[in-house]
Amino acid sequence: MDQKLSLTINGKAIEASPGQTILEVARENGIHIPTLCYYKGTTNVGACRVCVVEVENARSLVASCCMPISHGMVVMTNTERVLTARKLVVELLWSSGDHNCLQCEKNGNCELQDLVYELGIEKPGFEIAPLEYSIEDTNSMIQRDLNKCILCGRCVRVCNEIQVHEVLDFSMRGSRAKVGPAFDESYIDSNCVFCGSCVDACPVGALTFKQARFKGRPWEIEKVHTTCPYCGVGCQMDLNVADGKVIKVTTDREYGRPNQGMLCSKGRFGMDFIDSPDRLKTPLIRKNGELQEASWEETYDYVAKKLASIRKKSGPDSIAGLSSARVTNEENYLFQKFMRAVIGTNNVDHCARL
């Protein structure tokens, strides 16, 4: 075991492991430090400086997300000096873009909005910058409004370091800096594979799920933790339900294995089928060559009689069943039980081989 270092944060004595940052230690100990550019599992870049804290004997404020702890360190997270610096940062970010929350999808779930509120900023001390970009509306999946981008770089890091799709990057520098696919391409024209992780990562309303727009505000959404129905990875995801409908899919990195908050385009954007008008809604029985609607009762009667008569005439092995790699374990279990115990045959398979 490595030896522990002791330090104090806001006067509280704390033991922690060498190599941890002030931010990590504070969070482990339930001490709140706000962040914006920090994104767990990616490089700490120290870009936004919202997480600054005061460290005794340090000349300037330090970014807690980047600063490793040392023995005997004395850290204060909420001094006047810290709060003034934080406010300044947030006011600059606010005034740098179009942070009008009225029609923003992120209203109520925006980290910049949260900070303005936390710090009690009535209005920014700077003039609001004019709109610079038109909203990217090239596809039905991801909408991009760079007027709201605070250049935290989380989207860039998640795309490169977590998903390793290597699509997003910064272009230009200084006040003209911007994030996006190479050569300033739109998402749809780029190599983007629409995993949607950059949208999950964006703290503000710059990147949002287009289809969910105006379908439900954060406090109207119920998130249901479930497993992706497509490939065998079995990604954990949240179906976001508003008004009885799945409006988008998000992830929660706290769910951990197996996907650590990642998804692919199918899990992310492949859910329209749930609410498709083509869904079957009633049983159908073929009568006079046509499939016609029938009640469950009539259908069960029909099927039960037919199966029984085939079994009687030609034996149980003249009946077969195909179960499914798409349905649940419980259903596969019951299906094979039905074929074996009720019909009396082992003619049961599914498309594992296909």
Binding site: P229, I274, L280, I285
Partner: protein, 526 residues
């Protein structure tokens, strides 16, 4: 998978064979890329197509389609010849080494090079990369199994892994990536003709007796028919009634003309699904089911992790969960099934399925558990064969290379190989109803190498006619470097260009998997 997804990121070397991981298991693809970019792992890709992972590979071997056994034998030949194998491990934990060694003797890199078209030196380099890694993980998917010699392919992968002591260690393993969300679970639950839940043989009297007691029913001892055999039997008239739950063999099975005739020949076809599929269109009875978002249950992923599925919205109209339909139908037929919930079914599964015995809803509320999980205290199993193999000693199998059943000839000069694309899934009944995915991938494309395109006189976007001994179809060509010269690639997502009109139903003799990955076709400008 013998090992877990989270281990891939920390393997020292990864050998990906017959898996287009970044498209078919994208999240695992990201784990592989992280292993390389962030942890310095070595990557060996073995695939006839220039798949996405090739850009990340230290070495890419591009064998002719259908020659996996030869290439894997070549790797093992080098490893044994150069003494790079795990001698202690082989001596202590395995058997059958000498016989395998003998069989491998003739697969020198030069000989393998003749069969596969891969340079002998590349075979040597790849063999050394794999053998010298402290932990090396083999990833494979349908590119290994969907062959008439698929079982030999799988065994060759296992041979290679054991040879280098990579089975039963963290970061190693032989790791099939399952294509569909719950293939693993369907197999575990006994949706197979020869086994009951947890692979207990139907032919085993003791196993059957146990289930007869649990189910209060007498059970048949004779193993049943596989899916392809069922279709053949229906074609002959021996199978008269078929109950299909959630499958669409009218697109997914090989040789569709034959499948259609078989299904039409039935006295009773019951199809239970969320949409009226191509197969449903032929049914006598269609039962509407709830989709995954409308019911509770569990899926078991490719690393054996049993995870919760939770109801988020109501099913449309009168649609019901599959488990409810089966229970009600069974009750109607005189065998009462009265489960109050999906969880009640899991309770019964716990009781009769030793590997699932400790996997209860209560325990997997937050995070799934990996089987084997034999009791309520067991933490689940991250990787298999830790201290010894399930059978005791790991068994090497001596394997001879056999060519695919059908290879190009004068009349059908191209290889056709099939697979999936990133934006669609299987028969695409779900993905094609999703606006965004269709925007990204609206239609079926046949990939043709530029050199072949030139010879055929076609350009990107032109239509071509692709014909095999079994059928013919028209499809738009995508002229692209991905397939090698002489091979075209098609996906099987689109009913209007159903590639399984063309594929060869030749089966692997053991696994009974059709040879989707290789058949011979001719291609003409349409």
């Amino acid at each position: 998978m013998t090992n877990s997804i989270e281990e891939i990121e920390f393997s020292d070397a990864i050998l990906a064979i017959g898996t287009n991981t970044t498209e078919n298991h994208p999240v695992i693809g990201s784990c592989v890329k992280r292993a390389i970019r962030q942890h310095g792992a070595k990557l060996i890709v073995i695939d006839p197509r220039k798949i996405g992972l090739v850009d990340y590979a230290d070495i890419w071997l591009r064998p002719k389609p259908g020659t996996n056994v030869a290439i894997l034998s070549g790797l093992m030949n080098v490893i044994i010849e150069e003494g790079l194998y795990a001698k202690e491990y082989v001596a202590e934990r395995t058997e059958g080494f000498e016989a395998m060694k003998e069989a491998l003797a003739k697969y020198t890199p030069e000989f393998v090079s003749e069969i596969t078209g891969v340079a002998a030196e590349d075979i040597r380099t790849a063999a050394r990369l794999y053998a010298e890694a402290k932990s090396a993980s083999i990833l494979y998917a349908m590119g290994v199994t969907q062959h008439s010699h698929g079982t030999d392919n799988v065994k060759s992968c296992a041979n290679l892994a054991m040879l280098c002591g990579n089975v039963g260690i963290e970061g190693g393993g032989v790791n099939p990536l399952r294509g569909q969300n719950n293939v693993q679970g369907a197999c575990d639950m006994g949706a197979l003709p020869n086994v009951l839940p947890a692979y207990q043989q139907v032919a085993n009297d003791e196993a059957r007796a146990k289930f007869e007691r649990a189910w209060s029913a007498s059970l048949p001892a004779k193993p049943g028919l596989t899916i392809i055999e069922i279709m053949d039997a229906a074609h002959r008239g021996d199978i008269k009634g078929l109950y299909i739950m959630g499958e669409n063999p009218m697109i997914s099975d090989p040789d569709l003309t034959h499948v259609e005739a078989a299904l039409k020949n039935l006295d009773l076809l019951i199809v239970q699904d969320i949409f009226l599929t191509e197969t449903g269109g032929l049914a006598d009875v269609v039962l509407p089911s709830a989709c995954f978002a409308e019911k509770d249950g569990t899926f078991t992923n490719t690393e054996r992790r049993v995870q919760r599925v939770r109801k988020a919205v109501d099913a449309p109209g009168g649609a019901k969960a599959d488990w409810q339909i089966i229970s009600e139908l069974s009750t109607k037929m005189g065998y009462a099934m009265s489960y109050a919930s999906a969880e009640a079914i899991m309770d019964e599964i716990n009781a009769v399925t030793p590997s699932y015995a400790g996997i209860t809803y209560g325990r997997i509320e937050k995070e799934g558990l990996q089987w084997p999980c034999p009791n309520a205290e067991h933490p689940g199993t991250k990787y298999l064969h830790r201290d010894k193999f399930s059978r005791g000693l790991g068994l090497f199998t001596a394997i001879e290379y056999r060519p695919p059943e059908e290879v190009p000839d004068e009349e059908y000069p191209f290889f056709l190989t099939t697979g999936r694309v990133l934006y669609h899934f299987h028969t695409a009944t779900m993905t094609r109803r999703s606006e965004g995915l269709v925007e990204r991938c609206p239609e079926s494309l046949a990939e043709v190498n530029p050199k072949d395109a030139e010879k055929l006189g076609i350009k990107d976007g032109d239509f071509v006619t692709v014909t095999s001994r079994r059928g013919s179809l028209k499809v738009k060509a995508s002229v692209i470097e991905t397939p090698p010269e002489g091979t075209i690639f098609m996906n099987f997502h689109f009913g209007e260009a159903a590639v399984n009109l063309l594929t060869n139903p030749a089966l692997d003799p053991v696994g009974k998997i059709p040879e989707y990955k290789v058949c011979a076709v001719k291609v003409e400008a349409a």
